[in-house]
C-alpha cells in the first residue's frame, strides 16, 4: 500500500501520540522518509504543540492564588462555625 500526502495528514496526530497500528505507522514512516512537505508539517505540528503548551504562554492572573486561598479559608471558617 502506498499512501499519499493527504492520508498522512490524517494520521499526524496519532503518529505523534504513538497511537497508530504498526502497519500504518510503518507506511507513514516510509512516506515521511522521502516527503519533505509531510515531514515539515509533522515537525511544525510537534513543535507548535510543545511551545503552545509552555506554561509561560498562559499565565495565571497576578494574585490568583492568594485570592483563591483567602476564599477557601473563609469557607473553611464557615464550615467550622457550623
Amino acid at each position: 500500500m502506498v499512501i499519499k500526502c493527504k492520508h498522512v495528514w490524517g494520521y499526524i496526530s496519532d503518529y505523534l501520540d504513538a497511537a497508530l497500528p504498526e502497519d500504518i505507522r510503518l507506511e507513514v514512516q516510509k512516506h515521511l522518509d522521502h516527503c519533505e512537505i509531510c515531514s515539515a508539517i509533522l515537525d511544525a505540528t510537534r513543535n507548535i504543540i510543545i511551545i503552545t503548551a509552555d506554561e509561560r504562554v498562559f499565565e495565571l492572573p497576578v494574585g490568583f492564588s492568594e485570592r483563591l486561598h483567602a476564599r477557601i479559608e473563609m469557607e473553611l471558617e464557615e464550615i467550622e462555625g457550623h
Partner: protein, 197 residues
C-alpha cells in the same frame, strides 16, 4: 490527604488543590475567554469540590474530578448568563470535514525560549483562544494539561474516538494558523546563495 481532610484536618485542602490551580483556571478560561470570569469559575469550582469532597471516589483521579466540576460550573454559569450560544449550533460537529495543514517545504525548530517574546506568546494565545470550544477544551486537557486520552474523554463526558478526532483537528488548525506566522517572525538564518548548487 483527602481522608485526613474529611477526618477534620481541613486546612490540608489548601495543599491538596495547589497543584491543580492552573489546570482548573485554564479549563475555565477555555470556556469564557475572559480572565475575570475564568477566575470566578475556578474559585467556585474549588469551593464546590471542598463542599462535595466526601462524594469523591478514589477510583477516578482527583484532577479529572476537579475538571468535571469546573466544566459543570462553567456550563451552568454560561446558561445562567445566557451569553452562550448553544454549543450544538456554534461548534462544528465531530465529522466536520478534514482540516488541511499549512504546506511547508521545511521547518526550522522554534526554541522554547521564543515564548519569552511577548508577541510570540500573544500569537500563540490568540490561536488557541480562536479554536472552536470543543477543540480548545480537548487541546487544553490533552496537550497542555497532559491528561491521557481516556482521562480527557472522562472529564469532558465524550468518547475516546471523539477526543482523538477533536485533538487532531485542534492540532491541525493550530499548525495551519501558526506555522506561517511563526516562520515569518522567527526567520531562519539568511540563505546563502551558492551559484554552483
Amino acid at each position: 490527604m483527602i481522608a485526613s481532610i474529611l477526618a477534620g484536618d481541613t486546612r490540608l485542602y489548601h495543599d491538596l488543590i495547589r497543584p491543580h490551580e492552573r489546570s482548573v483556571y485554564m479549563m475555565a478560561l477555555s470556556f469564557v475567554k475572559n480572565e475575570a470570569d475564568a477566575e470566578d469559575i475556578a474559585q467556585e469550582a474549588f469551593l464546590k469540590a471542598l463542599r462535595n469532597l466526601s462524594t469523591f471516589r478514589a477510583k477516578s483521579k482527583f484532577s479529572t474530578w476537579l475538571i468535571s466540576i469546573t466544566l459543570n460550573e462553567a456550563r451552568s454559569r454560561l446558561r445562567r448568563q445566557a451569553i452562550v450560544r448553544m454549543e450544538s449550533l456554534d461548534d462544528p460537529p465531530d465529522d466536520g470535514g478534514v482540516v488541511s495543514p499549512a504546506l511547508l517545504r521545511d521547518w526550522r525548530e522554534i526554541p522554547s525560549e521564543a515564548v519569552e517574546r511577548q508577541e510570540i506568546c500573544q500569537m500563540l494565545r490568540e490561536a488557541v483562544i480562536s479554536l472552536p470550544t470543543i477543540y480548545r477544551q480537548v487541546f487544553q486537557l490533552r496537550d497542555v494539561e497532559e491528561l491521557s486520552v481516556q482521562e480527557t474523554a472522562e472529564a469532558l463526558g465524550i468518547s475516546v474516538p471523539s477526543v482523538k478526532v477533536r485533538l487532531h483537528r485542534a492540532r491541525m488548525m493550530l499548525q495551519k494558523q501558526l506555522s506561517p506566522l511563526l516562520k515569518s517572525v522567527i526567520p531562519g538564518p539568511k540563505r546563502r546563495w551558492l551559484p554552483w548548487l
